[in-house]
Amino acid sequence: MKPRHRLRATLLLLLLVTGLLLGGCQHDAPLPFRLTNISGHMPDLDFHLTDDNGKAVTGADYRGKVVLLYFGYTHCPDVCPLTLAQLHVVMQRLGPLADGARILFVSVDPARDTPAVMHAYVKAFDPRAVGLVGDARKVEALSKRYRSAFTREPSSADGAYEVSHSSAIYVFDRDGKARLLATPSASRDDLVHDLHLLLATGASQ
């Protein structure tokens, strides 16, 4: 091989390696997700609500964390606890990486779900789960932002009622960008796989 050719080959190799390194850092590099990829199709994480410690919080408070957003209510004895239990198993499987993620459980039942009720509820599932409450208008604003919906069903004689609600889990990256949509029946393997990808991309620069 002539020296000139060797130089060209080295340069090409360098370019290739640099390209790979850069590609790994870019947000818009297509990640091989298994769940439904909604990158670029949903607005960034944004809300004004109250967390389960009674503190006012916004979407910006969770920048730097991978966020799993789920709507539900504490008087829901079946699907909501199942979904949160599934997410807890997923978090456990992520090990120490799970510290980079938060489960945000937003109540669609502002009449009954106080921060205190939400606190006891979410902590029964996972230490990285946060309960969020707000008046009906604020919760509706967040729900509409993600084309989600909820409806309070008619009360029974004793005043009890159910709330029908969207079952989707929205996943946001550390920059608050909407990235994935999962259903409660999504395989835990797929959730673990995709969260690994998002957690590996590091905090925003």
């Binding site: 699907v79 949160l84 069903e153």
Partner: protein, 168 residues
């Protein structure tokens, strides 16, 4: 729910040729557990029912000395919306089974008279549409449990009965 003695007798004679007594006598309950939620929140109860009889039977609900109100419910997800509906009865086919499991059929337990803690055993009396009853011990499990917590002792086929594990 409480047929007269006469119709009960007639029903037994017609359906079972006088040999079979009640629905409850043909039903075997297993994997009975309750997902305990904090405070006074309603809890979900789950159980697998197997019917060794030649006739289908139907579960209509349950009663309990611990919970003032118990309802048979069904969760469904259609069009991306989760909702719960009340159910009058759940059929357990002849020589078949019915599974009450998360995200499907469940008993909704409300107004506990005393706090139920994970590890407790709670007796629920299952009631069938013929009026017969089956007292069953349910094990109270933590909020974030996925099942009755007895997987290791389960026959392998029982695993497939949990709707949320079926896709894996």
């Amino acid at each position: 729910m409480k047929p007269s003695a006469l119709s009960f007798l007639l029903g037994s004679l017609l359906l079972a040729g006088g040999v079979h007594a009640t629905a409850a006598e043909h039903v075997h309950a297993s994997h009975a557990w309750i997902r305990v939620l904090p405070g006074t929140l309603p809890a979900g109860a789950y159980v697998t029912l197997e019917n060794d009889g030649d006739q289908p039977v139907a579960l209509s609900g349950a009663s309990s000395t611990v919970y003032a109100d118990v309802m048979l419910h069904h969760s469904s997800t259609a069009g991306g919306m989760s909702r719960m509906t009340m159910v009058d009865a759940l059929t357990v086919p002849a020589h078949g089974k019915a599974v009450l499991a998360p995200a499907g059929y469940h008993l909704m337990l409300m107004q506990a008279s005393a706090p139920v803690k994970p590890g407790d055993t709670v007796k629920l009396t299952l009631t069938f549409t013929d009026g017969s009853t089956l007292p069953t011990d349910f094990i109270a499990r933590p909020a974030n449990a996925m099942d009755a917590g007895e997987n290791h002792a389960m026959p392998p086929m029982e695993h497939g009965a949990m709707p949320h594990d079926s896709g894996h």
